[in-house]
Amino acid sequence: MRSAFLTYFRLIAADIRSQLGYPVSFLLETAGAGLIISMYFISLALVFQRFDNIAGWTLGEVAFLYGLIEMGFGTMDMIFSGFDPQFFGQIVRRGGFDKILLRPQSLTLQVLGSSFVIRRLGRILQGVVIFLIALSMVEISWTPVKIIYLPVVFASLVCFFGGFFIIGSTITFWTVESIEVINILTYGGSEMMSYPMHIYQDWMRRFFTFIVPAIFLNYYPALYFLDKPALQELPYFAPFLSPIAGFGVLFFALRFWRFGIRHYQSTGT
């Protein structure tokens, strides 16, 4: 187990060394990724200049949500780079997955170790900045439970998005044409989750409650942290379902991944 993790860190270190071999492209892409996120947020702030709240949420409150999601998604996007369906789909198509199968190490660990895109730090950093701005704009009454629970929600978010990356990558064993659909779920999903979910229509909110349990990772916890009343009556434990939803999605994804590998080994590419 220990040696497996050492191997993982060596693989990541190797990938980072490769990326640093192209310093200019690294700097440009990091700055670019961060800049795009900032532009989104600035446009959001401009909207708030005209309407001082969106469905009862102030700019600071939306920024809290936005920053949290950006940090979570950005971190996931860095840790799970190897499972980025776009990247992994290419690997499969070029026969690179055979190379992974030919090595005496866990497949999941090797895929995770195959890419660690550090330029995502740009996005993460922007998320941190937006989150800090949010904290300065809203008065959060911190309790010990809130302080402990915040990193838990963050970790759950990483697992949740990571699960979707794994599911998307697994689908590329069957077809690479469906990558767009998965992108809608991951990139589109994270975009949607940056806003308070009661602004969406009922069917959509139900979808993100019962089918894809995203609402437990952004909206409900945010209500709890910000001490905001929910539109409907919520069970008191709803904000605390983040880890169950997050780790549950990751668990399901890993099961599906195993299934996908079995399929790959019976058909090849």
Binding site: S3, L6, T7, R10, L11, A14, R17, S18, G21, R94, G95, G96, D98, K99, L101, L102, R103, P104, Q105, S106, Q265, S266, T267, G268
Partner: protein, 331 residues
């Protein structure tokens, strides 16, 4: 048990879905799919003993790489039995791949943007190679493969021949008992090819590593393997000594004669004239019916000969004839 590989009635069938092009095609794909069964490997039997060096030949799509993928544990067979190095490859993937090595000429196993030595170091950890054994092996391969002058060069900057040498080194650092080589000399010049062949032969002889070589380059096989297996359309057509293959299917030998002057009638019993350009005449004759010296005797008694040459058919011709004329098709 001295069998390194034993395959019994090994089969791999694929179901291929036909994809119709365009939007309407995509919709129709969802409703009805056309299936086609591909028998990539269709009941293959063979045994390879420890320390053997076997050439595995066949035209494109014959089932070579599917066989290879089953032997390395990448693919699960449809049916049949397969034991490699005492194991069922796909059941114990991690242990299995830890004891075999594979070089695919078209792809590299090395990290593209890193210096060669960094890749080798990474592989040391991935394969859990003890430090002293790693050092010893690396030293040996550095000398044999002359890796020194590009050990610190990123893989992307290597020439094809250098990359292949680095890949061979990478595949052997963990002392595999069995080595799979898929087109190891593809795209290389004559000198580079020869260097790689020498190294492979050395590994087989000195380390006793069992080697299965798939290649399109018949001269690889001629120079390295005693035994060849030929596969076509998923079935083994031939499994035996390369020499025997020659004798059975070698076809005609050639005698090229340069006469002292131009003769009207150059026919001779036991041989056929296939080409006549000026004083230069090419005869074909069958192995077993007449010997070269008999033929030369008959010719020299009638004509003045300036020069002559006996040509053996090469393996490439032999194998091409086997594919094309389906000489070995079983009923």
């Amino acid at each position: 048990m001295s069998d390194m590989i034993s395959a019994t009635d090994l089969k791999k069938h694929f179901v291929l879905h036909r994809h119709r092009p365009g939007f309407i095609g995509a919709v129709r794909n969802l409703i009805t799919r056309e299936h086609r069964l591909i028998r990539a490997v269709d009941g293959v039997n063979f045994h390879i003993e420890c320390g053997e060096f076997v050439g595995y030949l066949g035209p494109n799509g014959a089932g070579k790489s599917t066989t290879l993928k089953m032997l390395t544990g990448l693919l699960v067979p449809t049916s049949g039995e397969l034991l490699v190095n005492g194991r069922v490859p796909w059941r114990e993937r991690q242990v299995h791949v830890g004891e075999i090595g594979a070089v695919f000429g078209q792809r590299t196993t090395l990290w593209w943007d890193l210096p060669v030595i960094d890749s080798l170091e990474l592989l040391r950890h991935i394969y859990h190679i003890p430090a002293d054994r790693f050092r010893k092996n690396l030293q040996e391969f550095r000398d044999l493969l002359e890796l020194d002058h590009f050990l610190h060069t990123p893989v992307r900057a290597l020439s094809l021949g250098e990359r292949m040498r680095a890949d061979l080194c990478a595949a052997l650092l963990h002392d595999p008992r069995l080595l799979f080589l898929d087109e190891p000399t593809i795209g290389l010049d004559v000198v580079a090819k020869e260097r790689i062949r020498q190294f492979i032969r050395h590994i087989n002889l000195e380390r006793g590593t069992t080697i299965l070589l798939t290649t399109h380059d018949i001269s690889d096989v001629e120079k390295l393997c005693k035994r060849v297996m030929i596969i076509d359309r998923g079935r083994l057509l031939y499994d035996g000594l390369l020499d025997k293959l020659h004798q059975r299917f070698g076809g005609n030998r050639q005698l090229v004669v340069d006469f002292g002057e131009i003769y009207e009638d150059v026919h001779v019993d036991g041989a056929q004239v296939t080409e006549q350009v000026g004083t230069r005449v090419t005869y074909h004759f069958e192995r077993g019916t007449v010997t070269a010296s008999e033929l030369i005797g008959r010719l020299s008694s009638r004509f003045r000969i300036r020069d002559l040459e006996v040509r053996e058919p090469d393996v490439e011709d032999t194998i091409r004839r086997i594919y094309e004329e389906q000489l070995l098709v079983r009923g």
